[in-house]
Symmetry: D2
Subunit: 338 residues, 4 copies
Amino acid sequence: MIITCKKGAPQSEIDKILSEFKTKGLEVNLITGTSYNVFGIVGDTTVIDDRRLMSNPWVENVTRVAAPYKKVNRLFHPEDSIIDVDGIKVGGHEKIVVIGGPCSVEGLDQICELAQDVKDAGGCMLRGGAYKPRTSPYAFQGLGTEGIMDMVEAKRRTGLPIVSEIMSENKIDEFVKYVDLIQVGARNMQNFELLKALGKINKPVLLKRGLSNTIEEWLMSAEYIMAGGNENVILCERGIRTFEKYTRNTLDLSVVQIVKKKTHLPIIIDPSHATGSWELVESMSLAAIAAGADGLIVEVHRNPECAWSDGAQCLKPDKFKAMIDKARAIAHVIGRDL
Amino acid sequence: MIITCKKGAPQSEIDKILSEFKTKGLEVNLITGTSYNVFGIVGDTTVIDDRRLMSNPWVENVTRVAAPYKKVNRLFHPEDSIIDVDGIKVGGHEKIVVIGGPCSVEGLDQICELAQDVKDAGGCMLRGGAYKPRTSPYAFQGLGTEGIMDMVEAKRRTGLPIVSEIMSENKIDEFVKYVDLIQVGARNMQNFELLKALGKINKPVLLKRGLSNTIEEWLMSAEYIMAGGNENVILCERGIRTFEKYTRNTLDLSVVQIVKKKTHLPIIIDPSHATGSWELVESMSLAAIAAGADGLIVEVHRNPECAWSDGAQCLKPDKFKAMIDKARAIAHVIGRDL
Amino acid sequence: MIITCKKGAPQSEIDKILSEFKTKGLEVNLITGTSYNVFGIVGDTTVIDDRRLMSNPWVENVTRVAAPYKKVNRLFHPEDSIIDVDGIKVGGHEKIVVIGGPCSVEGLDQICELAQDVKDAGGCMLRGGAYKPRTSPYAFQGLGTEGIMDMVEAKRRTGLPIVSEIMSENKIDEFVKYVDLIQVGARNMQNFELLKALGKINKPVLLKRGLSNTIEEWLMSAEYIMAGGNENVILCERGIRTFEKYTRNTLDLSVVQIVKKKTHLPIIIDPSHATGSWELVESMSLAAIAAGADGLIVEVHRNPECAWSDGAQCLKPDKFKAMIDKARAIAHVIGRDL
Amino acid sequence: MIITCKKGAPQSEIDKILSEFKTKGLEVNLITGTSYNVFGIVGDTTVIDDRRLMSNPWVENVTRVAAPYKKVNRLFHPEDSIIDVDGIKVGGHEKIVVIGGPCSVEGLDQICELAQDVKDAGGCMLRGGAYKPRTSPYAFQGLGTEGIMDMVEAKRRTGLPIVSEIMSENKIDEFVKYVDLIQVGARNMQNFELLKALGKINKPVLLKRGLSNTIEEWLMSAEYIMAGGNENVILCERGIRTFEKYTRNTLDLSVVQIVKKKTHLPIIIDPSHATGSWELVESMSLAAIAAGADGLIVEVHRNPECAWSDGAQCLKPDKFKAMIDKARAIAHVIGRDL
């Protein structure tokens, strides 16, 4: 950690700043510059609050050299983490996973039919929303527990592990019991109480990146879950908010290699929410595989015009299958299987 | 609501799109354009999900004419709402309110001393965080219930109503019992389960704008609370995320008059989180008053360098008082009192 | 074009708004809504200035149904445009092009050696900056005319057409004489005087997207060039500014299919500026090809640590070749050649 | 400047990195950290290109301690710069200036009438666009030289110095001859050839901040002009692009005090372009004065609905006068005059 101080700071102020480091066992080095004095702090600086240092009027700037995350950091965990989702392995050199299913569970028949479609196309997990985060209180809010139980039945019939979004710590027990991969949505990426609760369980968590969050903030949210004791975290990029109006969000595929460099966690891509348009889903899915992603999570619906939510971004099952076939060929080019 | 359809859409597709409107009692008007056909839908279109319409490949675009919010909308509630916070009136032509206090409650003595400082300076409510949303799991997370009880004692001694942030629906009972103005932080602005829970109580809610949310999304979150039955909502702008690195966030003061035009709710400004720097707090506070805000919420600390969180953005009590005195003079210029 | 008017507007105001349309031969349709009246304007509305309409206080909103561009619009030019760059065809179903070369021309030997490296690796055009847009006036500003002449010699030796950035209309004659594909950089995307000057020549123009511009603004800049009479425009995405700090910019690959849907122009991708890091260039290049791009423009340098600018994002020639080989295999998967 | 290197870098690589500093007379200090080694470079580091350092694969990060600008920096020029615009002083403790006038010059009568209106209301300079940067090639592009000559006549009649936007280095002679304060628009903030040309003249330059540029980039553009020899620079904030759709741009008033802290240059605010709506102009003007701005530049038109451009954001002369009267009272509160 580097602390830049204005010239002319009285020794008493300098001592005030530095005393904290010494009591925490950190080593302090001074570089005397032309316009500023610079202190380099050596040791585990994740315990230091940089904004508190900034409150001293003699401090011009505080810069971290080391990342603020530890559990997530590849520096301290060089090998890839492989996450086991009810028998399906995700990450490392494992087969690339494709998760498919509707935005919302709309009933038992719908989800069971779609589960079969997903399986037939080559998908290996079933997604479906039972609790839906909707901007408007007047929009469909999901079937709730009934939707979860419909997915459980679809899993019984097809064998596909199920993925669903949790919106409240109050539902943790239900999700631990029934859901194989618990999704934290973009809007809850910094719902810290929910993250803490997920840190205390053992089920894999699919942590989506927030709409306007940096990769570092996203990794800090993963750190919350892992610091609590649950090391089964899969990251999911689903597009970020930009000024562009022709897409719902802007898919950031550069995260794939960045996440792999900074962390040991698997990363999958959601091209459906990222684009908001089924016409863009195939091209973004193929691009994600070419970029090195460990998986895809794609919205699929037999009749998108009648979907209860987000029909605009659903692929029909035949298009979903066609996409998977091309994605597999691309995976082979870069030395992966799917 | 305006639906733009590509030329050449078969009548069966058009009928499919339009049938839903007719069953919902909405009226449909057709304008035949040169490159597109346009349908105008008349009636209460808040019940229509525009993304479902977009799933039809013949639909090029869907545009809302009317706002998607109702309870919040000034169109249907022309007079200003005045919110009563334990006897202090906020909004309309009432006195401008100034809320002061530390980022975090650090103990009984600290909060009681500061409450007196805030009162002496001319502040009319006390803020203080007991549950803190922190990016890092290793940072101080707040004193919790103990912090709330310290604030209750500070209120008993000074008479100042108290404002504190709620981070989980599980704490609703505690907040209803002890806190006068329940703050929803920026990161929870779209924590819809929390908003629904707050809709069922009667205590005033201070709803902060999310870091990257549009005003419309913010008003939709207010609509969640009001649709649930709690009409005591005060909006709070606290800066949005931009590319700028010299400030923590960018304070958007144009919201003041926009909120007053679009809604009947009061709006207050948080210059501390918006800037992240005490050196900017006075100028942004005065600007907020000049812009017409109904109040300010400002971080105050006797010894910012030792604050347990966010010391960099705290005013010392004497600077807080000096700011209030100037703010009062500016309020008089625009015909308000403070 | 849809104009939303407040209820209660006096007929004289309505007449004032509508009279302009009638004199321009546009047809006006009225839809009477519950909260607003809506006018639909039919005809060529690109001649209407929507911000002038907004100045009428009775107008609530103005929305365009049709795109504001004509020459660029695929609606009026359904077949793909193929741009000929000194014999190399770009766009449609032509071979995907790979352009390589250094950020800055550093001298005759450097550019001639690199031109041969690019050719050997499978590249088909040579890039090199002679005029450099630098944030700092103290940074290297490019070799100017000397750099252009060095590229001309490199072309003579290798046969590769050359691509270079123009920064001022005053250099048009030099570029028309010597450069095969004239690049407009991101910072000049809305330098309208430069765009007008490029509209009057016949040489192909490579139009980069601005750092924070929407696709629509980018297409309007292409429209400037085409409206002037030069229809040889190739679009280039080079990353947009986002909040992310781990990359220089964020590459937006969804533009590829959007550009192909909205326009008939070719689109190529610059993964070097988009990421700012050579470690990300291969994965983003492969993703771009998988997404359907018509080409790549990649920075290559034999000795990146000594590059006079942007060494951090340069591939060495062997890595450039390895990338092209994988890109070719991916191109085959999606039915293209490279 | 702080350079963070990965552990294990061979000494030959370290030497390669450090050799450059030594030849440039900079001093190097080493701090050995737990995960990284850190080099602190002392001296004038504005000559170092940080992106070149990043090209070395052993370098993890490069951070500047000192600002990259010199001429602009208050550290080396502690007293306020006062810029003289044909006799009107701007900056320091001088009277706050109010510049008014139409978006576009529409003819001699219009600009002369408005000049008188501006003067009568208390304005001290006249603005008017003769060369207009328009997103669409089909929109009105300005009267050009004729517009400039109309303004010259308006100045002759009223005595008000004139402010107008330059869009091309080719017009420098015309502007030097006739215009008192030469405006560089947001879209040309990084048109470096134009900035260099303006560095060679002596007329004051009004440098607007780019739509998505950071304050540092803005100051670097001012540095371009000053490094060329022209020290007469006034900065102008005109709103930045954000996700908000209810305003044209988002006015960032925190720049006022930041600019005053980092630089010695005057700063004025343009509330018209910042908001895009006349209904917001008064509140943002008053807020700007309360925040400490040295001036305002406001669009004024007698008949906004008929303005040739940007009517939506024009004040009528009587509203302009009313705003100035309130602004003056606020100026007095903070110890300034207007």
